[in-house]
Symmetry: C2
Subunit: 459 residues, 2 copies
Amino acid sequence: MERKMITTYDLFLSLAKGELKDGESVFLEGWIRGNRDNGNIGFIEFNDGSAFKNVQLVYEKDNPQYDEIAHYKYAASIAVKGNVVLTPANKQPFEIKVSETSLLGDVSEDYPLQKKRHSFEFLRDIAYLRPRANTFNALFRVRNKLAFAIHKFFQEKNFMYVHTPIITTNDAEGAGQCFKVVEDMKDPTGFFNANACLTVSGQLHVEPFALAFRDTYTFGPTFRAEHSNTSRHASEFWMIEPEIAFADLEDNMDLMEEFLKYIINYVLTNCPDEMNFFNTMIEKGVIDKMKHILNSSFKRVTYTEGIEILKKAQENGHKFEYSDIYWGMDLQSEHERYLTEEVVKGPMFLIDFPKEIKSFYMKLNKDGKTVAACDLLVPGVGEICGGSQREENYELLKERMEEQGNKEILEWYLNLRKYGGCIHSGFGLGFDRLLMYITGLSNIRDVQPYPRTPGSIKY
Amino acid sequence: MERKMITTYDLFLSLAKGELKDGESVFLEGWIRGNRDNGNIGFIEFNDGSAFKNVQLVYEKDNPQYDEIAHYKYAASIAVKGNVVLTPANKQPFEIKVSETSLLGDVSEDYPLQKKRHSFEFLRDIAYLRPRANTFNALFRVRNKLAFAIHKFFQEKNFMYVHTPIITTNDAEGAGQCFKVVEDMKDPTGFFNANACLTVSGQLHVEPFALAFRDTYTFGPTFRAEHSNTSRHASEFWMIEPEIAFADLEDNMDLMEEFLKYIINYVLTNCPDEMNFFNTMIEKGVIDKMKHILNSSFKRVTYTEGIEILKKAQENGHKFEYSDIYWGMDLQSEHERYLTEEVVKGPMFLIDFPKEIKSFYMKLNKDGKTVAACDLLVPGVGEICGGSQREENYELLKERMEEQGNKEILEWYLNLRKYGGCIHSGFGLGFDRLLMYITGLSNIRDVQPYPRTPGSIKY
């Protein structure tokens, strides 16, 4: 594709390569993010969307269009002819001296964005315009790079990407928080001749592929019909779910660690301007926090050890809000954070959980009481993702499925264990929460293009 | 991640680099795709899922496990220790001489796959096992590479990937074939406080991003509640929808052509074994068909010219099944194919359609009768994808939206035209149909992991 204009991204790239020439003539198209003048000289903060940083356009009194340009509004789209002026001594290493412009799209008086800081709540309400605000400009760029890093990591390791289905008949975890999918309200099972719902996880559907292709992953939208109006819950979010054959819990944790380090490193390397923005404006120190992950070797602690540590801490006077700590409990975020922040002081895996608090498909350990599951805990958050080795023993899995009452509907899943099955493992990582963690943004509504939450589906 | 075993993919890679050594000891884990012996020597066709091609394992009478190995069943999973034997004179350039094996997962008697050719209908019914069959082994590998090629192409061009929402309140094209999404059948609008449905297109949601980031794309699942039980219709399928700002219909067609050539070339280069399989077993000549696309410059013909050509062909005796040809009609597949196969003899764009047969958001041409839309037609299929320049004029778009009655619900979409709008364009390409085209598979149910069609949602 050849378009006549050059992008600001091309200009920055050219500059980085030392190839940007003083006086070079350029033709740009983009948006005004600021315009001020003093009657003799004017400056436009110009952004064409191809780069995070603005480019400064300078127009001077000798320009016959001076008055016209000076009246261009914030957010208008313009075409610009001009010449590069290298300004190595300045904060901005180059600017564009404008020779000619034309207004492509004006801005009406009711435009809701102004050149000032708006609250996130306000911006959420105009989700279709907020990509133009600095924070969201940075955020969606990181979102894009992070998504690509995920594919790149797995493809480089010869993993197979599988599009597991969105419409399904099973609710995977048995959590029962599925949205129903119907064509005609009067005949809910009519279209598919079955109860259909939106997937809560691709795991069960990707396992058959791992048992054919060895290393596989899904990366797609998942859904929860939960009435949880918190900053960490959305009704629709993207999940990454790798599934690997001939791999046990140790292999799985190795993969989780390697994966998380790879994608964080990719973002730090490929989004330096955006990450500096988050580090300055959103969460001071978030870059160091990410570097700490890269430089840590992830510790492995059993759930049983974890409970002992927490009990001891309590005996020594540490106050937990949720103070009833016992073997068999589901850890609260404060407990997870104590372990990763105060004890290990870095990322860690908590492993081998009581089978009662984990899913039916997890491999029963030899002790008969715990399952080969692992939660990855990180400072500042607690659990960021979880995985497990899957039960590959037909009889043991059948027993668990009968207890759960899902043996009938998932007969095919069980069958995998008698048709050349093997040990296999996998994990699930919520993409949007990961993005919150990396950027420091604290509300899931602020990391998604058009968030869907209970009572809210404006666009 | 370090797993003790080596993959067959690694062995083939090592061979290609000239680094595979005769006698090299290996440890493999994978599945048996064939096992035969004559009492003195036996051969296992072995596949661990990491490569399309099998590796031959050889076990000889002097192996103390000989009888045990000879009884390993088709589809069982095994672990193998052995040594590489280079056999450059043979069809298979190396084999593995087995020293030791263990059975990891046996296969019960009711295993439905056999080492023979099964019908596609039969395999569809066991969707969770068919990835193990040759055709689907090849197919899902191509699907994976094709999906990655799409991201790679756009990322290399600095496009922004946007996760447009799956649950939405608008049906984009106004086609009205949306699945409804509800939490509680008794209170259909309860969860979101609105009528919610599954997206039929991400286009309207990605346009605001193009007007902030210039070059953008979506790639995600879309849905149609259509009762079309044909080989080309599925209720759930993936779509690629790029949207580019400061770009007209010509730019859009340039992008479509470059994109299609890039991804086809990527598959031919990265899936040679799989494409040879399709070329031999599924559609003879499919590789040449793909190469023809790569070597063609895509012609551009207006709809009005197209109609004239078809009328003339009819006058000269060509028989169309659908014989009522007039300006204003929607072309049928046979007409599209006549143009691309008989007239242009290659890929072509048909452009500038009557506004009445195209969507409300397409840019009205100066003639006041046609819109700046383009359909890409290819031999053997007809239309493979379509795009358009979008109407950027506020008043004209408002008029069209009032006609359609969707002005209220899409007010925000209209507003984009008065808030620094600009010319912009985009296209939509159905991923699954593209995959059919590239592999020669003729039923959409055979290119998806778990197809969803009317009355059918088994897994």
